[in-house]
Amino acid sequence: MYERVNSLLEVGTGFNTELSGRENIYLNGSFLGMKSFEIRQKFDQIVGFSEIGEFIDTPVKYYSSGMFVRLAFSVAVHLTPETLLLDEVLAVGDAGFRQKSMEKMKELLTSGATIVLVSHSEQSIRDICDRAIWLDKGAVKMDGPATEVVEKYTQFIKAG
């Protein structure tokens, strides 16, 4: 288990709200095993993507939840994502940011990263995933190509 698994199970894992956005970016990156110069190289990209702007030096506790999620998501997708674990994070953020996040994830996928997406949104699973696993009360109900699994799932929901 030495591969860098960049996980974002809950948005902002390892974030400390007393610290500024900038400090959190560095702390988060170093939790992932990055050197500070590596983080510095990606810093502007992260801040740009998150649209945090001038608030990057404000303690995170003063951020709105939208700002917080944008920053946390941006940190996660920019810092060495070989395997990215996303648990329902797409439900948050405004429509514009959601769109941008989708594009970013597709870009990561084409660059060879693996994304594990936990979601109830059929649309995002259809958009992003190749393979889907349908879990019901902790048991695997179906495992296969995303479109097929989503189709079966939708039928199941409609049937009640």
């Binding site: 610290l19 702390l27 500070s36």
Partner: protein
């Protein structure tokens, strides 16, 4: 075994964690950094009043405040490193479960942070020493060695308690008592000379006793030189304890997600 190479790979994490710990500590209180200065002074005031003025315990010709501070700098470092080490896994449970990094970085960053407190307390003591015309001798060259032994020893004890905390949550409750008893079995508040002969063995079984006495040998310019043999033994014991602590810590860190 602690994986030093990996820890070295994550040295930037150590830096950012230390910065985080210090910053969070200062930001959460109104007067922040001032507490670091006030803490030793307040403790000194309390014990000076009770033991120096009321109980008038003899402190080998040294003014009580100086006697106290010269031991307190060591005790404060020890207790802080042990306390933060003990809680380091529990307090970072969120990030431990969700990402991979050498967990040893958590207590070690706290240990580095404790050196800030030590430095401040030491400077306060230094001012008192100068004001009371204590000579600054070549003995001070021994200070880094003593500090190193103290830090290794304290860190080892902290790691042991950190491991214990994972499997045995009651550690939280008895750690405070252990530290309290440990303080009374270390000649911080009073000199060992006022302890009855038959009880002194209890003090000398405690590795901190000889460390405190060695520090006092430097600061107060009195007492016996802690022989090279003794220093070497202390160093070896401290290192052995640290390794034991690190091994225990490593074996528990993987269990933390299951236990909590």
């Amino acid at each position: 075994m602690p994986n030093f190479r990996e820890l070295w790979e994550y040295r930037d994490l150590l830096f950012f964690l230390t910065r985080r710990n210090l910053k969070v500590r200062f930001q959460q209180t109104l007067i922040g950094f001032l507490w670091i200065i006030l803490q030793p002074l307040i403790q000194m005031g309390i014990f000076y009043f009770i033991l120096g003025i009321l109980a008038k315990i003899p402190t080998e010709g040294v003014p009580y405040p100086i006697f106290f501070l010269s031991g307190f700098v060591v005790w404060q470092l020890f207790s802080q490193v042990v306390n933060t080490g003990a809680y380091s896994l529990l307090e970072n449970i969120g990030v431990i479960i969700k990402s991979y990094f050498p967990r040893l970085a958590l207590p070690l960053s706290q240990t580095i942070g404790s050196l800030v407190d030590f430095l401040v307390s030491f400077l306060i003591l230094f001012v008192f020493l100068l004001a009371n015309h204590f000579p600054i001798t070549a003995r001070y060259f021994l200070l880094p060695v003593l500090l190193l032994i103290t830090v290794i020893f304290s860190s080892g004890v902290g790691l042991l308690f950190g491991a214990l905390m994972v499997v045995f949550r009651d550690t939280k409750n008895f750690l405070a008592f252990i530290l309290m008893i440990w303080m009374y079995l270390t000649p911080v508040l009073f000199p060992i000379s006022i302890v009855p002969q038959e009880l002194q063995v209890l003090f000398y079984l405690n590795p901190l006793t000889s460390l405190v006495e060695a520090f006092r040998w430097v600061f107060l310019n009195q007492g016996d030189f802690p022989t090279v043999a003794n220093l070497l033994i202390s160093f070896v014991v401290a290192c052995a304890l640290w390794f034991a602590g690190a091994v225990a810590f490593r074996s528990m860190e993987n269990r933390i997600a299951d236990v909590l």
